[in-house]
Amino acid sequence: MASYIVIALFSVGIGVGWLFRNKEKTRKNVDVAVTWAVYLLLFLLGISVGVNEEIINNFSRIGYKAFWLTFGAVAGSVLLAKLVYELFFKTKDKA
């Protein structure tokens, strides 16, 4: 449920932001607030991880998984990007 509220707030935010598009100062303040909200949430995530012994004891395994998922995501994106580039974007001046 909460995640639907999150997506709804996100969409409403985009609309509200559009109204503020000419207010430079508001935009700057919003960006500062975003940064601090991220700091707060990552700090809280850190605590919830720190008190969770199962995660702490498996940290190297978690890093290992993260590494391979990065590899998969990057390899998949780059290979497909090569195909899309060759098919649709490459200029034909060398033909």
């Binding site: 932001g17 995530l45 850190g46 919830s48 998922l69 995501a73 974007f89």
Partner: protein, 201 residues
Amino acid sequence: MKGSLIILAFFAVGLVGGIYDVFPTWLLNEELTTYALFALMFLVGISIGSDKTAFSILRKMNLKVVLVPLTVVVGSLAGTALISFILSDISVKEAMAVGAGFGYYSLSSIFISKLSGPELGVVALLSNIFREILTLLAVPFLVRYFGKLAGIATGGATAMDTTLPIIVKFTGKDYGIIAIFSGIILTILVPILVKVIFEFL
């Protein structure tokens, strides 16, 4: 890069403090995280919505450019899904949710830990930070062997800000606009796709 170090520092302080039990228990309250997440998402929305250059770029785009973020979505999700078959302890769904972070580690890790628990949240945090770092380091090489969209593709959501300078440097200014466009679309898609993956797969 500096930004991700500060974020990691906040995470690390929380982590170490959590291990040694130095924080009051009210900081672990679920509701605090939920409301902070509500505030964050609303603010991120405002930040995207008020970006005038973003909208003018969107207006100038032709249809072909839509292929670029689509490539990143399909490539990232397919790649992470394949990796989940090699790793014994992660499901296809979890792997794809991490892949759907597209390098946007702050938001994806928070959102995923909310939907699935802190363990996968940490996987998402690390994996998507790795993605940004890898992009910063490997763009010259990737562009050389995989064409001019390669940097935009690895950059994912970060192609609109943190990795944009390096992408522009190695693929040219004309690709800078495509990078920003792709980054904006992917940034908007992160919370939506993560939710869809957990809900419907």
